[in-house]
Amino acid sequence: MPEKPKVAFYWCASCGGCEESVVDLAEEILGVVNAVDIVFWPVAMDFKKQDVEAISDGGILVSLINGAVRTSEQEEMAKLLRRKSALVVAYGSCAHMGGIPGLANQFDREQILRYVYEESPSTINELHTRPQTASPEGGHTLTLPEFRSMVRTLDQVIPVDYYLPGCPPVPRMLKAALDTLLSGNLPPKGTVLGPDTAMCEECPRKESKPADLAYTAFRRPHEVIIQPETCLLAQGVICMGPATRGGCGAQCVTGNMPCSGCFGPTSRVMDQGAKILSAIASSLSAKETEGIDRTLATIPDPVGTFYRYGLPGSLLRRKIADHN
């Protein structure tokens, strides 16, 4: 019997939802476990770094890495897995585009550390103690990973072969992806393993969207009772669906919430936020600066709205300290 292909799972800066999603394969997982040899999966199985190091370079068929990259440890593990794997899949929005943790790129490291270790309401830290990468303790040196200056996507740290989008990816797509990768019939490098049309295509409310939408104000989901049948954009709620890759089966919309863009853009778009911004702004009703600004003022947080999952992977990547 030939050796089963080796598969590794790893998580970087992530919430654990991606791990959940693997389990969400439900009974299908048995098939997967049957077909592959899981050699590393910190959240579920007891393997150590040394175990990975022991595998020959390229000995793993595919590593599925989720989470954004924020610490030196995550970098190190990503690089290690890259070396050991024939294929690396960025699994989920965070590895793909930076994800929710990527919103931290609106602040610099010092702001974050100061807030977390000193200023947050629940913190008392009169000595201003901060985590150190190395601190002496009883003749030993205790080390901690370094907290990097910014959040990165996986492909900003190591070369990535494929992407599995979503926060988290849907089990159906994971199954399909694994089938494809195991089949050896590989798509071109860099492919996002999902459909390449926008989410609207599969949205049940698509037909309720009027053709002549002209926005005068936007509303956030909590400010309005969302009608369950009507296109959210038609209700003035910003839905990222038109600029977001489909494949999720319009889960959020089905749950009466707008799409927030976790699948990222289609292959034809570089910057998802810029594109949805363009589409939405184009359909404003106002024609003069003042009226336009009045309408746009109802979007309180453009960056958080349009780049909720994609700030580190966007063209600008992070907040910039321009001018002195």
């Binding site: 594109k275 363009s278 960056v303 910039i320 300290a321």
Partner: protein
């Protein structure tokens, strides 16, 4: 954010401005500026589009990401669009994009929309001149350099790993 790489570059640095001009008004005005020999700052590089409505916000962000210090968009005056309403769409996008970019820390003087009609060669000149001066006063934006500089923090680890591997292989 201290950007040492940038400071070195300030010597002899010249602002680089990418300009998107609509074919019918602003590009024609730029031609008129040429025909009238209205000399102006050589810092703008014009990309001709048929209408300011063709301006995809991605173009602006891409220009900055690739090293532009400023982006200028020129279109027909309100009501004068050759395609009736393209300039209004450009204006709306630009307003939202300007807000977004401000939140991302990019100074507002780096991204400007001007209405310049086909007869306003003089305005092409003054717009490019004032924009160049404003951007010059701000100094370089230098995103490619910043990207590289940010990523330097990963070099130490990469070197360490490389050294380790060398040791293993040796």
């Amino acid at each position: 954010m201290a950007s040492t790489g940038m400071k070195q570059g300030t010597n002899g640095w010249e602002p680089r401005i990418v300009a998107f001009f609509c074919n019918w008004c602003t590009y024609t005005a730029a031609d008129l500026a040429g025909v009238s020999r209205l000399r102006h700052a050589p810092n703008a590089r014009v990309i001709r589009v048929m209408c300011s409505g063709r301006l995809d916000p991605q173009f602006v962000l891409d220009a900055f990401a690739r090293g532009a210090d400023g982006v200028l968009v020129g279109g027909c005056h309100p009501g004068d669009c050759h395609y009736m309403e393209g300039n209004y769409k450009a204006l709306r996008r630009v307003r939202l994009l300007q807000r977004m970019m401000k939140d991302m820390g990019i100074h507002e003087d780096r991204f400007r929309l001007e209405w310049i009609s086909a007869s306003e060669g003089e305005k092409v000149k003054t717009t490019i001149n004032t924009m160049t001066e404003r951007v010059r006063a701000l100094g370089p934006l230098g995103l490619p350099e910043r990207f590289a500089e940010w990523d330097e923090e990963m070099d130490g680890l990469a070197h360490a790993i490389a050294a380790q591997e060398e040791a293993v292989h040796a």
